[in-house]
């Protein structure tokens, strides 16, 4: 017996019972399903041009398969779903964000060069010397389509794919009687399509070329057919984009991602290119030098810090007060969880209404009692107080829950020992309850701080960052704006266009800042843990 247990055995063990085989089958079936879904996703993403993401998904799926089938990786198998999700939902987006931060990916530069050229080439212009016609569609019994063309001067023609366009001479071309629009109902075995048949035909004929190679007729729109060509043509050999209409040549500028003509004009679409550190320099030359950044940063820290402290304090107080086992405690606790259960957005909107200076319940009650109408939306200090108040309401139930649980885990024996030593309730709280609680709750406090550091929803939904600061540079900054809402406006809101590259660069900077702050805080929690160890 002893010999067997000391030998380290990974993987399936003898004997190969029915259960064991059944396990293998289930495992392979699940793996197969995972892989099938992954390959399907990957193939679709690849087909839609999202090659990178498609490859990542397939590679992750293969990784999971290998982990589960390779004997020496056996211990990792239970972690494999977690690892896969982390790779897909955390690591890949981070890499992607970093990548985008070094490009000019933004409105006007959203496509690759090839995509931009392809999109522009859809604009059609009449070829030199070409005529534009009104058209009607016909088909014959063989399912072939033909067009009845009417030029502006009234000339009528009949066009079939692969055959020269024929001039139609009335009553001589084998056509049936003309209708009021001047088109015959039938001609040469073809009959005019109307109603549903016409709509169905429109689905198919857009890409058909009528007439011959030399004199083609294509359909541009519901109202126009003729020899149309792409307005924008890319000459890959010479690497120039040509505007066929006037012959202007646009040279791709790989630094800015634009097609630039000698006159300095640019083609309608640009494309995205790597631009090195430009987005980062822009952060430090535009946002960083603009005055309010320091104020915004300090408020962001203060908001996150005060939110955590107040909601932890209130949550802990509630937990201590309700730290009993009776049914009434349970009922009260359940009721107090409601703010946590109601979707945040709804709570915020209700609070906004209650704080409204014109008829809001809270404001008018205070005004009735004290005669002072609190300017929640227009005074910087009151607006900040209001935001902290609402955040307290939103987040104290969370800490109440956590603290209630953590309090249960503190052994009552140490309180008895403290009582023997003559400690009063005050001493017991500060020397026993709080330090022991912090050991358990400390990491959650940090998580809450990080969350509130990036709390965009509350700031934006409450006052949209307002009231606005006076005399700041563009874009307008509010007193309650935090770093994320301020920079969001910088990258997406006020500039007129969305600049994803710039936004990604900002996200990276904020990520680094939050990371550093969190590291600092872990130092503090270490100290708590030491306290916990010493009790």
């Amino acid at each position: 017996m002893a010999a067997v247990t000391t030998e380290k055995v990974y993987g399936p063990q003898e004997p190969r019972s029915f259960n064991f085989l059944f396990g293998i089958v289930v495992r392979l079936a699940v793996l197969g399903l995972v892989n099938a879904v992954a390959f399907w996703l990957g193939y679709n993403l690849w087909r839609d041009g999202n090659t990178a993401l498609g490859i990542v998904i397939v590679v992750i799926a293969l990784g999971v398969t290998v982990i589960n089938l390779w004997p020496s990786l056996w211990p990792l198998r239970w972690m494999s779903p977690g690892l896969a999700l982390m790779a897909l939902l955390a690591i890949y987006p981070i890499f992607y964000t970093v990548y985008v931060a070094f490009t000019n990916f933004s409105d006007g530069h959203r496509y690759t060069k090839a995509e931009a050229v392809a999109l522009m080439s859809r604009t059609k212009v009449l070829a030199e010397g070409g005529t534009s016609y009104q058209w009607q569609v016909y088909s014959n019994e063989a399912g072939e389509y033909a067009l009845w063309l009417t030029a502006e001067d009234g000339t009528t023609l009949f066009a079939r794919p692969g055959q020269p366009v024929e001039n139609v001479v009335a009553n001589e071309s084998g056509e049936g009687p003309y209708d009021e629009s001047g088109a015959p109902a039938t001609i040469d075995g073809f009959s005019l399509l109307t109603g549903g048949a016409r709509f169905q035909a429109l689905r198919d004929i857009q890409t058909i070329q009528f007439g011959t190679e030399e004199a083609p007729v294509g359909i541009k729109s519901r109202n126009e057919a003729g020899a149309f060509v792409s307005k924008w043509q890319f000459d890959a050999d010479r690497n120039v984009l040509i505007d066929v209409e006037n012959g202007t040549e646009y040279i791709p500028n790989e630094v800015t991602g634009d097609f630039v003509a000698a006159s300095g004009a640019t083609a309608p679409l640009g494309y995205w290119v790597p631009i090195g550190f430009q987005n980062f320099t822009r952060i430090f030359t535009s946002i960083a030098v603009s005055g309010p950044l320091i104020r915004v940063f300090l408020w962001t820290i203060a908001f996150a810090f005060l939110s955590v402290i107040t909601s932890f304090a209130v949550g802990l107080m509630m937990a201590l007060l309700l730290n009993g086992s009776g049914i009434r405690y349970k009922i009260i606790k359940s009721l107090l969880i409601i703010p946590y259960a109601v979707p945040g957005m709804i709570s915020i909107l209700i609070w906004r209404g209650m704080l409204n200076p014109n008829g809001g319940v809270i404001t008018s009650t205070i005004a009735n009692l004290t005669g002072y109408t609190v300017p929640w939306q227009t005074d910087a200090g009151w607006a900040k107080a209001g935001i902290l108040l609402v955040n307290l309401w939103l987040s104290y139930p969370y800490f109440m829950l956590i603290c209630s649980g953590a309090l249960q885990s503190i052994p009552s024996s140490i309180y008895e020992a403290a009582e023997v030593d003559g400690a009063n309730a005050w001493n017991k709280f500060w020397s026993l309850t709080l330090p022991l609680l912090l050991v358990a709750v400390g990491p959650l406090l940090i998580a809450s701080f990080t969350y509130n550091f990036n709390n965009y929803l509350l700031i934006e939904a409450m006052f949209q960052g307002g009231p606005t600061m006076i005399g700041t540079n563009a874009p307008p900054v509010g007193h309650t704006d935090n770093l994320i809402s301020y920079t969001f406006r910088f990258a997406f809101g006020a500039g007129g266009t969305r600049d994803f590259g710039f936004a990604s660069a900002i996200a990276i900077i904020i990520f680094i800042m939050v990371g550093l702050l969190t590291l600092l805080q872990f130092r503090f929690t270490k100290r708590w843990e030491e306290v916990g160890d010493n009790v």
């Binding site: 300017p375 307002g466 500039g495």
Partner: protein, 619 residues
């Protein structure tokens, strides 16, 4: 055994995935994206179309704002719609991303109101089939205000009378600091947002938020606030509930408020926007319509669906019933006899199209903050709109915000040259300095540009006669006059009107120039990167600055840094392409070609400002 098993299972999975994929290819012939008010009206129409004509049309409900944001994302991925329900002022952004294509209404164009077609026209192309146009109008409570006020001064008089008589708490209430609803007031006083260029398109370089008329409109609002007639922190809800309960008597709002007013039994009469010194107030006119996605698969069918099916009385009526906005489709409009709609139409006659250029997005926030500062009495109207206009211009220029009234932030100058360059003179007090002739004043410092290797800055100066010099390192020890002469005479600058004057100083030649006495000309070309510019064809890189140190009207610059090869160049004025000259001094003419025979050859660019001819000699 295990390895072959892995291989086998992988092959099986691939086969499964491909077959699943093939089976999953089903897409309607036409996909329409519509928001929650339009989608329910469109869905039965789409179904009817599908049943009648055997072509599948599907309506997908998407939040209105998401339609705009998601189209350029979903479109290229092949998941996008063929047709979207859109608001006209998205056009600028959608065109910038190439997300929509023009539509040719053909003979159907005559069935739509001209105003609605104008709204959907951008760069002379029609980008949508409109179905509704809307604008705000003036609402009053006829029991409190029997006759429509003709002017904004009258609005104030009536408001005061109502309050003093105790009839109602307020007279006219605005929708808080909302800029869209303030525009009708502002325009009555002659204010505007963007000026128009010669083609009648909004000109993003002419921002009118701080124009005299705009400020006059804000002063009217300021007077109302000072008289206690407008409280702080109003919004749409409070404005309406005050009106409904008779606490206020007048407001500006649009057709979207009608349902609520009628449900709450409010008494209202709709009339034209009151007039100001510049005539009747103009509301912004906006419109909704259908646009064709540029990523569509079935453009022909989409056009036919819109023009041969939707552009008819019945479908348009269905849309109107779902959301009663004034129809753009005339055959329907003529059948509707609705006093409210007629009143909105009448107010809209004086309206102007809400600009759809992408730069408009830079305007709303700053503009609104400006109005807010006056309502909260933190700034005077001139300050408030002055600030707002500066913010808007900065945003439109896309440049780094300048630190207000402080030292300019340029690049770090080379250590062996001056560390500060300023233009002491009588230009300084107008530029915000405490006194004239102070080389250390922070407000008239020039900024060093590493790209251009020159010092420059632009100041807006009022009309008048000025003198200045250029001084280095914030003192008088080293200073130059107009001919690059050390300690030389002052430069005279005469301005007939308020002008933005750009000053440029080159420490290599000690020459200082201003954009009034001289032309600031550069030579953009294919050689520029070789002389240290960040890119070729950069008119703003003043390393190619043409200088006229002796003042004879011939501007020149020479360099030996261009490597051997063939090059092209032009002359550009004021560092942009707006004014440029090519061969034979022709405006916008062909590039000049020149050849540098060997590395290190001196190339001289010489430009005659009177004929605009550029001469390039090398070797």
């Amino acid at each position: 055994m295990r390895k072959s098993f892995i291989l086998l299972s992988l092959v099986v999975m691939m086969i499964i995935s491909v077959s699943v994929n093939v089976a999953a290819q089903s897409r309607p012939d036409l996909l329409i994206w519509a928001d929650n008010t339009r989608a329910p009206a469109l869905a039965p129409l789409a179904e009817q179309f599908s049943n009648d004509f055997g072509v599948t049309v599907q309506v997908q409900e998407i939040g209105l704002g998401d339609i705009r944001a998601n189209l350029p994302v979903a479109g290229p991925a092949g998941e996008g719609p063929d047709i979207i329900v859109a608001v006209h002022d998205w056009i600028g952004e959608l065109v910038l991303n190439g997300s929509v294509v023009p539509i040719d209404l053909g003979d159907k164009a005559a069935e739509f109101s001209e105003a609605s077609l104008t709204l959907f026209t951008y760069n002379d192309q029609l980008y949508g089939m409109p179905y509704a146009v809307e604008n705000v109008a003036f609402f009053r409570n006829p029991e409190l205000v029997p006759d429509a006020p003709a002017t904004w001064d009258e609005v104030r008089t009536i408001s005061e009378a109502l309050r003093d008589a105790g009839t109602s708490e307020f007279g006219f209430l605005p929708q808080g600091s909302d800029s869209y609803h303030f525009f009708p007031i502002m325009s009555a006083f002659g204010g505007y947002v963007f000026g128009l260029d010669e083609n009648g398109n909004a000109n993003p370089n002419d921002v009118g938020i701080d124009s005299e008329g705009s400020i006059a409109g804000l002063e009217w609002l300021d007077g109302m606030v000072k008289a206690g007639l407008i409280p702080n922190s109003l919004d749409y809800d409070t404005m309406l509930s005050n009106f409904e309960t008779g606490k206020s008597a007048m407001m500006i709002t649009g057709p979207w408020a009608l349902n609520r007013l009628n449900q709450n039994g409010a008494v209202y009469t709709i009339s034209d926007i009151p007039a100001g010194p510049a005539g009747q107030g103009s509301p912004f006119i906006g419109g909704q319509g259908f646009m064709l996605s540029a990523y569509n698969n079935n453009q022909l069918l989409a056009e036919a669906f819109l023009l041969d099916f939707m552009a008819a009385v019945e479908p348009m009526q269905a849309l109107y019933d779902a959301d009663p906005r004034p129809p753009a489709y005339l055959p329907l409009r003529e059948t509707l006899e609705n006093a409210d709609l007629a009143a909105f139409d009448s107010a809209g006659k004086a309206g102007v199209p809400q600009p759809s250029i992408p730069q408009m997005a830079s305007v709303w926030g700053a503009w609104q903050s400006g109005i807010g500062f006056v309502i909260s009495q933190e700034l005077t109207p001139a300050e408030a709109f002055g600030n707002a206009a500066t913010q808007i211009r900065d945003l439109i220029a896309g440049k780094a915000p300048e630190v207000a009234a402080g030292p300019v932030t340029g690049d770090t100058p080379p250590a062996d040259g001056p560390q500060n360059v300023s233009i002491p003179g009588t230009v300084q007090v107008p530029a915000g300095c405490a006194g004239d002739w102070d080389p250390a004043c922070a407000n008239t410092q020039l900024a060093y540009s590493a790209n251009s290797d020159v010092w420059s800055n632009t100041f807006v100066l009022p009309a008048g006669d000025y003198e200045y010099k250029v001084a280095l390192n914030n003192g008088w020890d080293e200073n130059y006059g107009g001919m690059a002469d050390a300690g030389g005479p002052n430069v005279v600058l005469a301005l007939a009107e308020e002008t933005a004057v750009t000053f440029v100083y080159d420490n290599k030649t000690n020459w200082v120039a201003d954009s009034v006495n001289h032309v600031i000309a550069s030579v953009p070309g294919s050689y520029q990167a070789a002389i240290g510019c960040s890119a070729d064809w950069a008119p703003d890189c003043l390393r190619s600055w043409l200088q006229d140190v002796d003042g004879d009207g011939i501007y020149s610059f020479s360099t030996t840094a261009i490597p051997a090869g063939d090059y092209e160049a032009k002359v550009a004025i004021n560092q942009t392409w707006d004014e440029n000259y090519g061969e034979n001094g022709e405006s916008g003419g062909a590039n000049l070609k020149f050849t540098v025979p060997a590395d290190g050859t001196e190339v001289v660019f010489s430009y005659d400002a009177s004929t605009n001819i550029l001469t390039i000699t090398s070797g």
